[in-house]
Amino acid sequence: MNTDMDKVFKALADPGRRKLLDRLHADNGQTLGELCTHLEMSRQAVTKHLKLLEAANLVATLWRGREKLHYLNPVPILEIADRWIGKYERGRLRALADLKQQLEGDTNG
């Protein structure tokens, strides 16, 4: 599991790859050619980035006829949210609960 998470964070660490994910978020299911338009990256660089994103399961590909389409896969992002954000949220809620108990305990006492 950790190695999977490492792949995801490494994949997300590059601005070019984040840009590609943003473009898929805006318009899901693009071909390599479509993804390359209006980008300041070579086709080779985009291909390399997409391979890494696919290895991290952030991008899923499908063949439709002769076209290879790229889709943003929400799973790893969801796992990051559960693993990291959810944890901090729970911590904050616990802190608030403790504060409430403390304050109410004070007035009661």
């Binding site: 899901n28 299911g29 499908l62 389409l69 889709y71 799973v75």
Partner: protein
């Protein structure tokens, strides 16, 4: 053709047989799919529907392909929201592929129309259901928020 498509790929530590069961059998779907059951003989051409606990039909359609435990294709129409129902039939594909100790599950939900409201709606639901399915198969517990049909829906 301009169309709408949702794609989801997840790796689950289980066997293809167990995953197939979990996707089709009521004792499993009740746990991770909001207490719903699916009624079908799971043969190509057979009818298929998802029942809401209160007796309404959530979605219905037909089995297009069934190759247990590898590939299941359904056509799918929403039945309880008029604005989604009027879009007609979408197509759902599950592909199950064993990879090492895990099964790669690819879910494709698509419709031959641009900006489909149905695909937009299911795109919000699938990640929760599939995360819950993964949790159920790997830990024996589904996610709490997917155990009951949401109130008022």
């Amino acid at each position: 053709m301009a169309d709408s498509r949702f794609v989801y790929v997840t790796y689950i530590r289980t066997t293809p047989e167990k995953l197939w069961q979990a996707l089709t059998e009521p004792e499993f779907t009740r746990k991770f799919w909001c207490n719903t059951v699916q009624e079908s003989s799971w043969q190509p051409g057979a009818s298929w529907r998802i029942m809401i606990p209160d007796g309404r039909v959530a979605d219905s359609g037909e089995v297009v392909e069934a190759v247990p435990p590898k590939r299941l294709v359904l056509i799918w129409r929403n039945e309880f929201k008029p604005e989604l129902r009027e879009e007609g039939y979408s197509r759902l594909t599950y592909e199950l592929e064993p990879i090492g100790e895990t099964v790669k599950l690819t879910l494709i939900h698509e419709m031959d129309r641009p900006k489909s409201k149905l695909i937009d709606a299911v795109s919000q639901g699938w990640p929760h259901l599939m995360a819950s399915l993964k949790s159920l198969l790997e830990t024996g517990e589904s996610l709490v928020e997917t155990r009951e049909w949401p109130q008022g829906v």
